[in-house]
Symmetry: C2
Subunit: 222 residues, 2 copies
DNA sequence: TAGATTGTTAATCGATTAACAATC
DNA sequence: TAGATTGTTAATCGATTAACAATC
């Protein structure tokens, strides 16, 4: 049965889940064991009502009169996001973007481990980048079939990105993390999350410009 | 006069602006000179109504009966985002995150040029990373005062990020691009855009897990 | 117990979509 | 002109906020 789109959680809520997780980790490190929706809201710049609403869309995690247990809630949200286990990733494209991702710290400590890079360039194959071996891109499908890889990171030239995604569609991979700044069409049953860093910079530029426009009292439309 | 929050464009719309720009660039490369809201919507997975609505919040760029001029619209959206000029950036923190950003291609071709990295480590000061000089972090404020730097990229250890942001608040810098996975409090008059890559990975993990949960027919709440 | 705080429903707000007159 | 497509207002949809009974 094809899942209805309405079964999926709203994007706005999904973006808040990692923020909850991060905040709860910080509270845990501070040694706090309980927190109310009101205090959590204050720290995160949300409303208490929204937090209770968000959490209750996954279940009742709190105790009336007391609030939420920090460790228990963190663990529950970890279960919901399925990050209380290790995920393995491969990076397709060992150029500058792929190298930057391979060298990026923080993924590993969050439990996302890069096991291999793939490239077509014979000068790169056999080398290591950030301690991770670069393999022949021809062997990608075989590698994915033989290993329990969870996530494919796309870091190819723009011209190759859709084709790479289509290839991945033929494997058991169901998650793709795309760094290439183009609009991709995901194969059936594959989740694609885009990281468009240049878009993020443009949004920053817009907000800076918007501030000027507002301060000058000029509306956007004449 | 303090700008009302309501003067600011909705976040959902701001996230679509770079996507419009990117799509129009692709159309331009394909040699198309006109496009209707209907065809643009089809390519982008939006509705024609939404596109007209979005564009009209900045002005009337189309011609009834004809559609939109690709080049003209791209240029107009570029003006709105203020990306029809070069932006200069400095990166604070020349560790692994800062290096990855400094080595990342694509920013430069989008007109965002990194002019310097800053670090406190004497072993790094004086070196170059991705062709960009690493300067002494003590000289950051002076550098910002003397140059026309537009954007500060924060890539410090988590413990230093808020302090770095507070320092920046005392300069003429009004845009900060933060790669550190903590919740920062922006000084008055400074726009902060966060790039939380680990959050993005967690959202991917959630969506993959959600697919399983839906397919198994298990609701999130019992 | 009394005070506190959740879980949950109803009210509000804002964003998206539909509709159509204006006009190229 | 007739057909096409915008600009713009009204209707709808969905997300956020408010309110309060349940209960720790």
């Amino acid at each position: 049965m094809q899942a209805k789109k309405s079964d999926r959680m709203p994007e706005t809520l999904v973006r808040r889940l990692p923020a909850y997780y991060r905040q709860l980790s910080e509270l845990e490190q501070e040694g706090l064991t309980e927190i109310s929706s009101f205090k959590l809201a204050e720290r995160m710049g949300l409303t208490d009502s929204q937090i209770r609403h968000d959490l209750n869309s996954f279940g009742g995690f709190g105790q009336r009169g007391l609030g939420y247990r920090v460790g228990m809630l963190k663990n529950s949200i970890g279960d919901i996001m399925d990050i209380n286990r290790e995920h393995s990733m491969v990076i397709v494209g060992a150029g500058r973007i792929g190298s930057a991702v391979a060298n990026y710290p923080g993924f590993k400590e969050a439990g996302f481990v890069v096991t291999a890079l793939f490239d077509i360039d014979p000068k790169l194959i056999g080398k290591k980048i950030g301690g991770i071996p670069v393999l022949d891109a021809k062997k990608l499908q075989k590698y994915l079939a033989e290993t329990g890889t969870d996530i494919v990171v796309i870091a190819t030239p723009a011209s190759e990105a859709q084709q790479t995604l289509d290839h991945v569609g033929g494997t058991k991979i169901r998650g793709v993390w795309n760094f290439v700044p183009i609009t991709l069409t995901p194969p059936e049953g594959v989740v694609v999350i885009n990281v468009h860093l240049t878009d993020s910079l443009m949004a920053l530029s817009f907000r800076m410009h918007e501030m000027d426009v507002i301060n000058e009292g000029h509306p956007w439309t004449k």
